[in-house]
Symmetry: C2
Subunit: 244 residues, 2 copies
DNA sequence: CTCCGATGCGTACGACGTACCCATAGGAGG
DNA sequence: CCTCCTATGGGTACGTCGTACGCATCGGAG
């Protein structure tokens, strides 16, 4: 895990040494915001909500963070920082193994914190641990005859795939949980009648097959589906390496 | 392009035949909302804003759409409907060509309407044209010995990759445009000093190389980068096909 | 002890999503 | 033709949001 001092190198300095001592910490704020987002979604992690969650006034967080977007960056970096033990032993000597581990780590993060994918894909993401992750990944791709742009491109492909696929897995799992449990009527998805009308219209034969012929234990082996697709992607990358 | 009547099969019926005749149309609302989102981002396409844009009152849109989320679904489907000529001639006899065209179409849509990727990845997306797109894609994967789950999985892999990669391209292009044009000081990215501090800290050698050694015309050939990565992915899929 | 800079936070403004209600338009049935 | 009935457009209102601004207060530096 990166040093706690890394938090000093943030968009704003943690402590300045002058004036009143802060009553909260960025890590504390991030943890509270993460808890809210995990339980109720990213949009629930608002400035005011997180502030009241830690017992602070509505405007107090602005001493630690400039925007709501910066709060979300803080949360995103903190999540990765808590997961850092999985990354600390990278890169592997084998570049394929490095990419595999990176992809599986990202997938696990998205499944654990679904809002994380939203922040990671909405725009460029910065933070000390994020940068360290990029550095580790690129280090694992060094010495293959790729220049820095190509290395970054390969890393981005894996990153995009892993986060996007995991996000899709999460949505599928949620949809199945919502349709399967009719007893939990509180989260009955409102698009069910529309999907029914679609498959009854007869104009979408393949969509109909997807809905009706889907194998039930779809989620149990989603991990191996992910790994299989990842293997295909890595094999494709290996095939176009310079010294292959 | 799908029939305009397809709009009738929507989450709510377009016209009921009784009572006062509607003064607006879903297509009109969607077009206005798309214009706003293209110009100022998805979060600017609010209920009130779109309503005033078409000269309606704050609550009038709720006669055409149930939620803000449903407005975004409407926009998303309308964008695809306008792009439908590119899809109407699919599927190709060659499944690889079908996937290639699908991926390139999705990429073009994301680059033309960056907010589109956000809606497509935030949750399950429905709509008549979306369903048709899924149907066409799955039709292109029929007869390869895959069951419907595997066909859907292959399509999702390509879809996830294309949208995610295009979204990343867009962010990279925006970042480069923002840093390159210092004259347009209105959109000076606020993370520049942080990135500078990161590469000056010396702790992130590869990030430093990415920032300093990046080849300038990064965006000109981003299309071929996309196509190369897509080719890798398709080759990987082809290698694991049943009758290969 | 004094000072001064940073902190915590109250107030306030505009924008948001949307629940609720009502006047109204305009085909359907007479 | 008139009447009725239903769906429409929209006004009002409530709670929440991000955040600009200002002020009292705390506590280390001098």
């Amino acid at each position: 895990m990166p040093d706690q001092d890394d938090a000093v190198i943030w968009l704003r300095p943690e402590v300045t040494g002058r004036g009143r001592v802060p009553g909260y910490s960025r890590a504390q704020i991030a943890k509270a915001a993460i808890a809210v987002a995990d339980a109720e979604g990213l949009e629930a992690a608002s400035m005011r909500r997180v502030a009241t969650e830690i017992g602070a006034g509505p405007m107090s967080l602005y001493r630690y963070v400039r925007n709501k977007d910066e709060l979300h960056l803080l949360m995103t970096d903190e999540v990765l920082r808590q997961d850092w033990p999985r990354w600390a032993t990278m890169p592997e000597p084998d570049w394929e193994q490095t990419l595999r581990r990176m992809a599986h780590n990202l997938r696990a993060l998205v499944l654990a914190h679904p809002w994380w994918a939203e922040v990671m894909t909405r725009g460029p993401v910065f933070g000390p641990t994020i940068m360290r992750m990029v550095d580790v990944t690129l280090a694992g791709l060094d010495g293959l005859g790729l220049d820095i742009d190509e290395m970054m491109d390969v890393a981005e492909i894996i990153r995009t795939f892993a986060i996007g696929h995991a996000q899709q897995e999460h949505h599928a799992a949620r949809a199945m949980a919502a349709t399967g449990s009719a007893d939990h009527a509180n989260m009955a998805p409102d698009w069910i009648p529309y999907v029914m009308s679609v498959i009854e219209s007869g104009e979408y034969p393949y969509v109909r097959r997807v809905v009706l012929d889907a194998s039930s234990p779809h989620e149990s082996d989603s991990g191996v589906l992910f790994d299989r697709a990842l293997g295909r992607l890595i094999a494709g990358i290996a095939a176009t390496l310079p010294e292959a």
